[in-house]
């Protein structure tokens, strides 16, 4: 386990981190205190995942790490060493939107777009675990992601639509 490997690391110590993001390997020596979100945004230069708070509350930085949804500001980059990560940029394949992306677009499930990446990744994880969630389960699945624009109703609708169209793929 990566965490074990670096259990005695100092914050400013340099550590080697290698992760596979959206199928591509990014390897870099970074300060141990670097958060995974900063690795994704500043090292891998994938700017789709956002930062909206300092307290792991808003969910804008949600990504999938080894199949589980993670708020990437709660994790150090070195803790993800060796992991496979999926970010919003990896959702669509061959220029084809993921059913969740289609459904968000169809249902006006975003306005300013800032929470959207995190919201999509939480929804992605939800549908992976539970391909046909009830409305209550959708609400619970998205409760860690804050949206200030939409009032959530269209997001919930979008997740329902994606589920009905095989969005768990």
């Amino acid at each position: 386990m990566a965490v074990q490997k670096y259990s005695k690391v100092e914050p400013e110590e340099n550590v080697r981190v290698s992760v596979k993001i959206n199928g591509r390997v990014y390897a870099e020596t970074v300060e141990a205190r670097m958060l995974l979100i900063d690795f994704i945004r500043d090292v891998a230069k994938l700017k789709g995942s956002k930062i909206g708070c300092d307290t792991t509350s808003c969910g804008a930085c949600t990504v999938i790490v080894n199949g589980r949804s993670v708020k990437s500001c709660t994790m150090f980059a070195f803790e993800a060493d060796g992991a496979e990560i999926l970010t919003v940029e990896g959702l669509s394949a061959d220029d084809k939107l993921h059913p969740l992306q289609e459904a968000f677009w169809n249902n006006h499930a975003l306005q300013c777009g800032y929470c959207t990446a995190g919201m999509l990744m939480s929804a992605y994880y939800l549908l992976k675990k539970n391909p046909h969630p009830t409305e209550e389960e959708i609400r619970k699945g998205l409760a860690g992601n804050i949206c200030r624009c939409t009032g959530y109703i269209n997001i919930i609708k979008a997740v329902k639509e994606a589920a009905s169209k095989g969005g768990s793929a």
């Binding site: 300060e31 205190r33 945004r41 230069k45 994938l46 700017k47 789709g48 995942s49 956002k50 930062i51 909206g52 708070c53 300092d54 307290t55 509350s57 808003c58 804008a60 970010t87 919003v88 940029e89 959702l91 669509s92 939107l97 992306q101 968000f104 677009w105 169809n106 006006h108 975003l110 306005q111 300013c112 777009g113 800032y114 929470c115 959207t116 990446a117 999509l120 959708i138 609400r139 619970k140 998205l142 409760a143 860690g144 992601n145 804050i146 949206c147 200030r148 624009c149 939409t150 009032g151 959530y152 109703i153 269209n154 997001i155 919930i156």
Partner: protein, 789 residues
């Protein structure tokens, strides 16, 4: 015939970049050689700065500079306030520095700024700046701040009162003399933290070879930022380019020019490096503007049959420590003039004390003044109904401005453009099943259950606004807006708007308008905004003005394009201009529709230009400035049904029906999105949100863990519907809809909760209606009932 795009639920063209993570927000802007800024902020709400020692900070590896307020004072002008409301005596505007000089006045006030090669170094150095403070007595509450002996923020501003603004319409004294019933209430409209999901940020790059600066910034109004940052930094306006790329929500909090924009621009010039600052959430809560923060003393005079005679309001508005860009206008102009609501109130008097305190500045938060006014009117109407034993709906129907009286001038002097208040209320009542709900309420009460029905019938003033009127209120500029419509030789169209949508979707709806006006395919129209190097001077997006003002500038520009194209088409068709007919993208000679020239053919001819009629210039491009002739007044009726848990005090929203009227709709999908989001913010004020300071001016709600925002678990499902009463003021009959939900929802929810508790003897509870507050009120009411029985 081409189908009309206006009125259609066209999917947003903004979305593909956001759903694929390819939007471009200020925090995403990365430039070679970029350096990072960290502000050192005051931990004291009120203190003298005795000394600032930056030596240890300068020793941190990678630090390029540390600047105190004193260092910056000679290089940066003060932060201006742009809305100096006319009062007697005149408004007192305290000096507001981007970085405090001798004194700090709220927790979070910047005292120094560090620039370093990395964010980490900047943060580490910021911690090593050593400031010696001499703490002073603190005042956070506006009612305390005006008392004798209260701590004083500024020499020369007695009782911390920046201004006392008064408005009077009609004979208020006589209204209260004739009153058969007077309802009085102190209402607290609590302080809120706007919380755009994207915090504020700026990147500045100074090009010394050209003496030009480019500033990327989270802004709702890039041209206003350019003007004021230019004034502060001395960089000439034409040498400063402001780009507000994708902006992650504003809700009013990105209108203001705060000072950080000028700091990063100046530092980029000094250091010859691109400079970046991205705010943390806790900084956002400490030092981005807050909203609301009123205490209102209200008296409503009426007859026993429910006829309202007069309204008297005395308000203490907390302005925080400094006057930000629009701050003085929010609790005065945008508030006082809306106190008539949807009703014929013959006499209205309002007195607003604008009070400075040791708290973050308070300015425009979604609705900005109008929610505060609507809350007063709608709560008081309900209290009157309760006092008279009338149904709240009947009091409203009795006092509505009748639909045949429009345009109608209310006692505050505003001219309402159009309305049909009775229709929206009746529609909402029928959708919610009002009368059977009242029956159900009676049944449930017998079982001891607490169900409440809350009604809110609001009117909003928006489309800000005719320049002559807004100038008379002390606003720094006119409030027209602008558009450039450029038809390219290929017939494709670029529309440049002075507005700055940041979530509202005008890249789509403005393209719908232009495509319809020009008769070109929607796909052929692009909408460009947010870059002062590309767009004409515009006033930006706030106050639900984007469609009714900037959108109408596009209509005007398109119509001028068609006018010119018609002259060119006449030449091509070898006809007289007056014989040429324009129809959906084609020109033809009357009676001969088969032989036509398309707008695209005409566009090309305008650029080849060898056959232009005399006096017609080449090219097909128009700049149009639109100054509205009047405000527009969307309105509606919202009904909220709640059940309060008697044992826990918890409120559960069971139904929420919104019937809104924003005139003609360009894109009903976008309208609905605005309504959903607006209601959610409005009900959040009623139930959850509250910025809390302790007595020493520490903000206790400094993170998203402490400031209660609704999540997907709390958001109710809404039933939305519409009536359509076109505005006679705007060319397309449109109004605005960006703030209606926020305005309507707060009183609807509070009225519902108080209605659920009314039979227990509870007449009013101040927001937010958290379970603890309700639980205590129920226990108190029950014990009083036991004592009296």
């Amino acid at each position: 015939m081409a189908a009309s795009l206006c009125g259609s639920r066209v999917k947003r063209r903004e979305d593909p970049r956001f759903i694929t993570g390819t939007g471009n927000y200020v925090a995403d802007v990365t430039l070679p050689g970029m350096v990072y800024v960290k502000f050192v902020r005051s931990p004291y709400a009120h203190a003298l700065i005795k000394s600032v020692d930056t030596s240890a900070a300068r020793e941190v590896k990678g630090v390029l500079g540390v600047y105190t307020g004193a260092d910056l004072k000679s290089k940066l002008g003060p932060v201006p306030c742009a809305w100096l409301v006319p009062t007697e005596p005149p408004i007192k505007v305290p000096e507001y520095r981007a970085v405090a000089v001798d004194k700090v006045r709220y927790v979070g006030d910047p005292v120094a700024v560090v620039v370093a090669e990395s964010q980490g170094a900047a943060e580490e150095a910021a911690e090593r700046v050593s400031v010696v403070y001499e703490p002073l007595p603190v005042v956070v509450d506006q009612e305390e701040a005006v008392k004798d002996g209260a701590p004083r923020l500024y020499d020369g501003i007695d009782r911390n009162t920046s201004f006392v603004w008064r408005l009077k319409g009609g004979d208020v004294e006589s209204a209260f003399r004739q009153a058969e019933v007077v309802v009085k209430q102190r209402l607290v409209n609590q302080r809120l933290q706007p919380t755009a999901m994207e915090t504020r940020a700026a990147v500045a790059e100074y090009d010394s070879a050209r003496s030009e600066a480019t500033l990327w910034i989270t802004s709702q109004n890039p041209h206003i930022h350019r003007l004021l940052v230019s004034a502060m930094t001395g960089i000439p306006e034409q040498k400063l380019r402001v780009i507000a790329p994708d902006v992650g929500g504003g809700f009013g909090s990105k209108i203001q020019v705060y000072g950080f924009e000028a700091v990063v621009t100046l530092l980029s010039k000094e250091l010859r490096r691109p400079v970046k600052w991205v705010e943390t959430r806790s900084e956002n809560y400490l030092s981005t503007i807050h909203g609301r923060a009123h205490v209102d003393y209200v008296e409503l005079a009426a007859k026993r049959d429910g006829t309202i005679l007069g309204l008297r309001v005395k308000t203490y508005a907390n302005l925080g420590a400094y006057l930000t860009t629009a701050a003085p206008g929010v609790p005065t102009i945008l508030f006082g003039i809306m106190l008539s609501g949807a009703y014929r109130i013959p006499a209205i008097e309002c007195e607003v004390h604008g009070v400075l305190t040791n708290t973050a500045p308070v300015d425009a938060y979604r609705g900005a003044g109008r929610p505060e006014a609507t809350y007063i009117v709608e709560r008081m109407v309900d209290m009157l109904a309760h006092e008279l034993g009338m149904d709240p709906v009947d009091v409203r129907l009795k006092n509505f401005i009748p639909k045949d009286k429009f345009p109608y001038t209310v006692a505050t002097g505003l001219l309402y453009d159009s309305g049909n208040y009775e229709e929206t209320l009746k529609k909402a009542m029928s959708l919610v099943g009002y009368h059977s709900l009242r029956e159900e309420q009676r049944r449930l009460r017998e079982q001891g259950r607490l169900m409440g029905i809350g009604v809110s019938t609001y009117v909003e003033v928006c489309g800000l606004g005719p320049s002559k009127v807004v100038r008379s209120t002390g606003f720094g500029l006119g409030l027209w807006d602008s558009a450039v419509v450029r038809v390219h030789p290929s017939g494709k169209v670029s529309v440049y708007t002075g507005a700055h949508p940041h979530g509202q979707g005008e890249e789509t709806s403005f393209a719908q308008i232009a495509a319809d006006e020009l008769g070109v395919p929607f796909e052929d129209v692009e909408v460009v905004h947010g870059d002062t190097a590309m767009t004409p001077f515009g006033m930006g997006t706030y106050g639900s003005r984007t469609l009714p003002v900037a959108g109408m500038a596009i209509v005007g520009a398109c119509r001028k394009v068609v006018e010119k194209a018609k002259k060119i088409a006449a030449g091509l068709l070898e006809a007289r201009e007056e014989d040429v007919v324009w129809e959906h993208g084609k020109f033809y000679v009357r009676g001969a529709p088969a032989k036509y020239k398309t707008i695209q053919e005409v566009a090309l001819a305008s650029y080849t230009a060898e056959n232009l009629p005399p006096g017609v210039e080449p090219g097909l491009e128009v700049t149009h400035f639109y100054d509205p002739t009047g405000f527009v007044f969307p309105f509606g009726a919202h009904i909220c049904v709640v059940e309060v848990d008697r044992e826990t005090g918890e409120v559960k929203i069971q139904k929420y029906v919104a019937v809104d009227d924003c005139g003609n709709q360009i894109n009903p999908m976008l309208v609905e999105g605005q309504v959903h989001g607006g209601i959610t913010q409005g009900l959040a004020q009623a139930l959850y949100e509250e910025a809390v300071y302790d007595s020493q001016g520490n903000l206790l709600t400094q993170s998203l863990n402490d400031y209660a925002l609704p999540t997907a678990l709390e958001a109710p499902t809404y039933t939305t519907d519409y009536t359509v009463t076109p505005s006679p003021v705007t060319p397309l009959g449109v109004k605005g809809v960006g703030e209606t939900g926020t305005i309507a929802a707060t009183p609807a929810v509070v009225n519902a909760v108080v209605d659920a508790l009314a039979h227990l003897g509870i007449k009013h509870l101040d927001m937010p209606l958290k379970p603890e507050k309700i639980w205590k009120a129920i226990r108190r009411a029950e014990s009083e009932q036991t004592t009296t029985s």
